[in-house]
Amino acid sequence: MSEKPKLALYWASSCGGCEIAVLGLHEKILNVAEAFDIVFWPCVMDFKYADVEAMDDDSIDVCLFNGAIRNDENARLAHLLRRKSKVMVAFGSCASGGSMPGLANFTDRDAMFDWIYHKSPTTDNPDGIVPMKHTDVPEGDLELPGFWHTVKTLAQVVPVDYFLPGCPPEASSIEMAVNAILTGQLPPPGSVIGPDVTVCDECPREKHEKKIKRFYRPYEIIPDPDTCLLEQGLFCAGIATRSGCGARCPQVGMGCRGCYGPNEGVVDHGAKILTGIASVLDAQTPEEVDAILDTLPDPAGYFYRFHLPDSLLRRRARANGEKIVAPASEAAGEPA
């Protein structure tokens, strides 16, 4: 057994879909189990952090890390697993780009806690209790991991060797990555494992010259089954999103949401969706452009759905321009 490469899988700030995606390999999961010695997979088996800490540095051959980094615990495991692993893979959109947890960067911890623990209509919290980093109980001091203002991607916390995007990554993508690891046929470190064309390449819908007069929400029209969705006014990020998924969403009439992230060489996914879409608006004056864009609510949400923490700006500025000064975990008595 000791001949087999050691594999670790970890789930940070994410929905768990990536774990399911691994299981979605179906019978091929057996190949994985056979090929690797799984040394750490908290989702499936019970491990203690101390067990990992006890391992030698670089003793894990591959770590598949899913989830964004949004609190001290996520960061602790990221640093720990980085130290213990030879190859660190950012697995899925959260680890690669921040994804859904990363949308919290449109706000910050204070605003979120205020809403969640005080203001939301479903909150019943007459004593105004909020989670604290430290709580004294008879048994001693209970500590919760510090909760960050800003969600980060894995690569913003530790060096990452490979990125495997997708929300979750398609079984075929995982298989490709696993095979690459097993056979040692890996691209240069820092690469995204996947093709460097966009979803349009795999999308069977017919594409024409585009002129968008207005946008529609998916419930507003029944799109023509053979024509490019974007041409029909349905938001589709496929023009700017790496392929590898088989264009599954557009094939069933739902525009691509961008989970596979930007194409090779692109530094800001949202900017590329933005420029592609803006370029084909059928308008000349700012007023005409505005009229069309009134039919596209929440553009930043559309453009940065999966990659806000990985974008150039990473997060929203605070209202009134004030800075977030203190790190979350510094001040005692701060909300966790």
């Binding site: 460097d196 064309v197 966009t198 979803v199 349009c200 390449d201 594409k207 024409h208 010259e209 585009k210 002129k211 490019c228 496929g238 023009i239 700017a240 392929s243 930007p262 194409n263 090779e264 060489g265 692109v266 530094v267 590329k272 969706i273 420029t275 592609g276 879409i277 370029s279 084909v280």
Partner: protein, 671 residues
Amino acid sequence: MSEQEKRVGVYVCHCGHNIAGTVDVEHVAEWSQHLPNVVISRDNKFMCASTGQEQIEEDIKEFGLTHVVVASCSPHMHEKTFRNACARAGMNPYLFEMANIREHASWVHPNDRDGATNKAKALVSAAVHRVIHHEPLEPMQVKIRPETLVVGGGIAGIQAALEIADAGYHVYLVEREPSIGGHMAMFDKTFPTLDCSACILTPKMFDAGAHPNITLLTYSEVEKVDGYVGNFTVRVRKRARMVDEDLCTGCGSCWDKCPIKVVDDVFEAGMGYRKAIYRPFPQAVPKYPVIDVENCTYFKTGKCRMCEKVCPTEAIRFDMEDQYVDLEVGNVILATGYKLFDCRRIPNYGYGRLENVFSSLEFERLTNAAGPTEGKVVLRDGETVPESVAIIHCVGSRDKNYNEHCSAICCMSSLKFAHLVMEKTGAQVYNFYIDMRPISKGYEEFYHRILSEGTTFIRGKVSEITDAAHAPDEEGKLIVVAEDTLIGKQRRVPVDMVILAAGLEPRADSQAVGYMFGVGCGDTGFFTERHPKLDPVATATEGVFIAGACQGAKDIPDSVAQGAAAAARVLGTISRREVALEPVRASIDESRCSGCRICNNMCPYNAIDFIEAEGVSRVNPALCKGCGTCVAACPSQVITGAHFTFDQLMAEIDGILVDVTGEMPLVTEVI
């Protein structure tokens, strides 16, 4: 070449005191030593002088420089100079970059030495960061077809066509009207020599019509233009004349016998009549008439056919249809001329309402011996000779309500009118002007001659021309109301006739024509030249030149000069046989193009084709002008804009934002 192997030389120019007077150039040069990949950084009194250029050449050899940055003036001033210096030392000239620390720093921040110096440091840093991403580029060589298309058969177009044809190359001269000649053919006399306009123009028209190297395409319009410098394909629509040019002798029997009289709005400016089959004027080239199908009885009712009956050569063809002619040419000269300002747009001048208010073109026809009154200057009734005439300058020109520009010809034509009126009628003439601008050779002298002939000059813009009399001597007259700004008094001058010196405007379709040929229009609507001072007949599109009043209001000698200049430019490219195109162009990495077709309608020059079979888009490099719009549009970032690449511009942004306040450049880190 790896990043480490790149060796950059930085040269900071004093430009005498022009830069060094404000920017601490020694400090900028010293500071720049610390920028990435910089191996040598110097300051120099005058980089553009031969010693400065030689310094670059020596350093390239001595220090093995791979890239060069010069911080001096605008790249529009000396980019070529320094590129050439690099090329002389064996470096690809596109591995050079310029930082503009004169026009954009020292000259605009004269009282802020720190600010200007910091800005200069930022601009040098930007250039250094950018230049290390530069790649060697080669200009693209394109073969030039020797044929030329001239659009517009006025004096500028005729001149251009003759120059090229005389040099031995073929010209297609396309004219919208049935005859070439343009506005000049309508005039009686030309200023300041008072030459007979027809006498000097008709020989040129005849030459153009008879020249073996000129194909005249009159009554024709350009429909479509494809291609690029050296290789344009042009589709011309030849409207049906309904007259067979091979058979017609131009004898005139047809228009003599044609029973339909039509007011001639074009050539006679509405002052006279022509027939439904007509030749615009006796000296027309070509000599063949056309049938005006809108007014011809046969085309309206199916009856008449008088012209057909009287034609001795059976040249009338009622079934003739428009023809399309496809031309292949290497260069194009646009000489589409101007439109006269419509004086009705100034209602207070009464044109069109007060019958004895004439436009300048109407007066030209009135005074022309071949015109409707055979040259007699009379009122609209056709017999009364005016005893007093007012000539109003700047009608529709130099007026922000209509056209801000000066129409350049009106002062002189107004002086000419004053002379002609006095010569022919002995009437008292009043010229109302804002400023006199007789600026060319012999013009001031002509002004003095008219002054001495007794014309009264009143300096003041006319506010109103009215027939509402306030005093007995105004009864039955036109009263010209103006403030005489020289005596500071409001004046009312009663006259029998008023001539409005209408301004020159761009053609109504100049935008559309410009669009077809890839030529922009300025805020006035006239075609935009490549450089207003140093390249006045070239345009943004290689191989398309402009001449005459389509480029801006001008008189005959200037139009002729521009026509000849455009011809010289065309002959220059023809004799080179090929031209080098700037390599600033877009290209698509087809292996990575996903065929989304976002870029397809970005290109104003139709340089992007979608290759259906391969599902990718492709740029035709000869058509591409390098604007980069498709590059910015490509959502998968697989279009590269040479010399303005994504990496180059991102590096330039990073470089321009380094912290310049300290002794060392500090790159901004993002947490």
